[in-house]
């Protein structure tokens, strides 16, 4: 087993020293010669000059995605999971827990959750193959159902010595942890609860589980899976296929924000549906969305390396499309800033708040539409057509 590097980058990698000048990639023909569905057309070699061919650019992007986007995101989540594990272990070893201890747990959860909001936007490969993403965060789920499910396993005699007593994913990850340390219910609030020791044991199992799962993800991306993505081999049909797989879930996450995080909670009218808030106990649902959008934008830009923005500007000479996408990201950020520090629970409960949330939805829809049209047409990189069809 590979050793996991736990020294996590706090930012993405340093700027690529060699900026790439534009070159004529040439539009794809309508019909190309017979190609293998599992091999790449590009020769993968790098010219000694600063110009890249389209094949070289796509190869570059796959490397950047692995080294500067995917692995740092997952590694950060692993680091924060380990921090959550350590904090939970330390706090739960004490007796007579105080408010400061609870705040330590809440802070550790918040940091792990923030890292997760970045990592979750990349839902393919090892994190998806065995539904690890669902174990770490099962969603959507109604707050009441989550509450009932968690409380139902906190029965007398359950020590969690054998791990989780249920295969339900909602009991195994961050939402369950959130409920335990943030809920204010009189009987079940962490510091007041009569079965605090049992709740601590449960928190330890969740934190350990999250570390184990993320370890598996990082290990695979550091090893064979990362190499396959980088080379466009294995389950990836070339560099283009690998990038398109990645983009499929980039697009999907925009839809998840709009549909699951916003539309479902807005419901059709007042008072909305607070049961479906993503973080109903910690009240960080808006912050989650802001983190998601920032992550998706950083991914688009290849962190500070050669990203899709460079592909548009440098390779395809389409600064106009690049700038338009940047403008649309700014519009999404502006609409999110307009929410100020109001919680999503409060926003969905007033007409003013709902209008602001609908403005966010509109800005995300417009960003997605621009990506699905201009970006796809210029780059010929598209999300899966049938993958998210739903029929």
């Amino acid at each position: 087993m590979k050793t996991i590097n736990t020294l996590m980058p706090t930012t993405f990698a340093v700027v690529l020293s060699l900026l790439l000048s534009g070159c004529g990639g040439g539009g794809p023909n309508e019909q190309t010669s017979t190609t293998s569905p599992t091999t790449d057309q590009g020769n993968g070699s790098t010219d000694s000059s600063s110009k890249l061919t389209e094949a070289q650019a796509l190869e570059k992007i796959t490397s950047v995605l692995v080294d500067d986007v995917i692995l740092p995101s997952y590694q950060l989540m692993l680091t924060q999971s380990e921090a959550l594990q350590n904090t939970t272990s330390e706090v739960c070893e004490k007796s007579g827990l105080k408010e400061a201890d609870l705040i330590s747990l809440q802070t550790a959860w918040n940091e792990a959750n923030s890292a997760w909001q970045v990592a979750r936007t990349i839902k393919f490969g090892p994190i998806s193959d065995t539904y690890i993403y669902s174990q770490i965060q099962y969603m959507p789920i109604e707050a009441t159902k989550l509450t009932n499910d968690v409380e139902s396993i906190l029965i007398e005699g359950e020590t969690f010595a054998d791990g989780f007593p249920s295969s339900k994913h909602q009991l195994q990850g961050l939402p369950a942890f959130e409920y335990i340390v943030f809920n204010q219910d009189e009987d079940n609030a962490f510091l007041l609860s009569k079965n605090q020791g049992q709740r601590c044991a449960y928190l330890n199992v969740i934190a350990n589980n999250t570390v184990t799962l993320m370890n598996e993800v990082v290990t695979q991306w550091q090893g064979e899976h990362g190499e396959q993505f980088r080379a466009g081999t294995g389950s990836y049909s070339g560099h283009k296929g690998a990038i398109e797989k990645y983009l499929t879930f980039w697009f999907e996450y925009l839809e998840i924000i709009n549909d699951e995080k916003l539309k479902a909670t807005l419901d059709t009218s007042l008072p909305g549906n607070p049961e479906l808030l993503e973080s109903p106990f910690a009240h960080v649902s808006v912050k989650n969305i802001k983190t998601n959008i920032t992550a998706l934008e950083q991914q688009f830009n290849g962190a500070s390396e050669f990203g899709f923005d460079d592909l548009l500007g440098e390779l395809h000479d389409r600064e106009d499309v690049k700038n338009e996408i940047s403008f649309h990201f700014k519009a999404v950020h502006s609409s999110l800033d307009a929410l100020e520090n109001v919680t999503l629970a409060d926003l969905i409960a007033t007409e003013t708040g709902r209008a602001k949330l609908n403005a966010v939805r509109t800005s995300i829809t417009e960003l997605r539409a621009l990506m699905a049209s201009d970006f796809v047409q210029v780059t010929d990189l598209a999300p899966g057509f049938n993958t998210n069809d739903g029929d």
Binding site: T34, T35, P37, S235, G241, K245, G384, T387, D391
Partner: protein, 364 residues
């Protein structure tokens, strides 16, 4: 002649005078073009057809995205069924490469993307939805059209909510319908409105009178039965799309013969996991094999019909359409690939387009 007697007469005529070998919804045809809907980079929608070597013979632009197709041999025409909640039927003349007719669904109706012809091609059966402003949940419809002019001659219940793919058994009289169980409404886009209460089923209906002959449900009501094909021995193979928690692993592909119990196909949990809870298209060949695609899983699978065991599971990103060809299956992808599927994948051709969900084969 009333509508019921029209159908009865047409069925009787076709049953007695059929000269061509009966072709199931998914069985081998001797020769051999293939057709599928597709969308180009500019998001324009088409129907295209090609040969076994992947050479494109023709393509026709259509006004609305289509899902599945049917081939009307007697008229050398392709019928393209609008994707949910579309309202168009496009009738395409293969020789002239033109849309010769564009039909609208009745007011407050839409198509579900699938249809099937009877043996003598006199009747077309489509799955449809009637919707009202109150967003009432109700069973879907089977609409029967006379293929001479595509006028509606009959309409009856599909016996379940959200009917999707359908096929005729070899008696040319019994219709088998995958009722997905999911309530949708055009004003709600493609939102699923009844996931907590959905009741999918596989229904057999007598087309002579629209009466239910048999209805079968799976134990887990979140297994939405969506696609199917029928082998020459009338075994119905159907594929599901799971609407429950992703970690609840179930078999997604089943075999059924009317009058018998449903039997699941056999794979390990790890193998089922690779389908990502989503089945797209199914097709059988004359070598007792079943091919099934999963675009979400990025896999195409081959199953032994005799043992019901998985024979091979091959990675093919964004694959959906699959049809039988000479000695192998052909699969399509949303990346534009045409791929031969046997023990391994073999590239046939690639176009800069996005092949849609289903692929049919036909003889010109």
């Amino acid at each position: 002649m009333n509508r019921r007697s029209f159908i009865k007469g047409a069925v009787a005529l076709s049953a007695s005078s059929s000269l061509m070998p009966w072709l199931s919804a998914c069985s081998l045809s001797a020769k051999t073009l293939f057709a599928s809907a597709f969308t180009d980079k500019e998001n324009q929608h088409y129907v295209g057809w090609f040969d076994e070597q992947g050479h494109l013979y023709g393509r026709v632009e259509i006004s609305e995205r289509a899902h599945d197709l049917a081939y009307l041999k007697s008229q050398n025409r392709i019928i393209a069924f609008a994707r949910r909640p579309g309202t168009k039927l496009h009738i395409i003349d293969v020789a002239s490469k033109m849309v010769v007719k564009e039909l609208n669904a009745q007011p407050q109706h839409h198509f579900f993307g699938h249809g099937v012809l009877n043996t003598d091609e006199s009747l077309l059966f489509t799955t449809e939805n009637y919707f009202d402003e109150q967003i009432t949940e109700r069973d879907g419809l089977i609409t029967v059209r006379d293929t001479k002019d595509f006028s509606i001659v009959q309409q009856f219940s599909s016996q379940g909510v959200g009917p999707h793919q359908l096929a005729l058994l070899s008696d040319n009289q019994t219709l088998v319908i995958a009722n997905g169980g999911i309530h949708t409404h055009p004003v709600k886009s493609r939102e699923k409105l009844n996931l907590d209460t959905m009741q999918p089923n596989l229904s057999y209906i007598n087309t002579l009178n629209g009466e239910l002959m048999a209805k079968h449900q799976l134990p887990d009501k979140h297994l939405s039965i969506r696609h199917l094909c029928v082998a020459n021995d009338d075994t119905v193979y159907f594929g599901c799309q799971y609407q429950g928690a992703v970690y609840q692993l179930n078999p997604l592909i089943y075999a059924h013969k009317i009058g018998q119990k449903i039997q699941s196909m056999k794979a390990t949990e790890n193998e089922w996991m690779r389908f990502k809870q989503y089945i797209a298209s199914l097709s059988v060949n004359d070598r007792n094999e079943l091919a099934v695609t999963s675009p979400r899983g990025g896999v195409v699978s081959i199953w032994d019909r005799n043992t019901r065991k998985l024979k091979s599971l091959l990675a093919l990103d964004d694959t959906a359409g699959v049809a039988n060809s000479t000695g192998r299956f052909i699969a399509t992808t949303g990346r534009g690939n045409l791929v031969g599927v046997d023990k391994a994948l073999s590239a046939i051709n690639k176009y800069q387009i996005r092949w849609d969900n289903h692929l049919i084969n036909f003889m010109t």
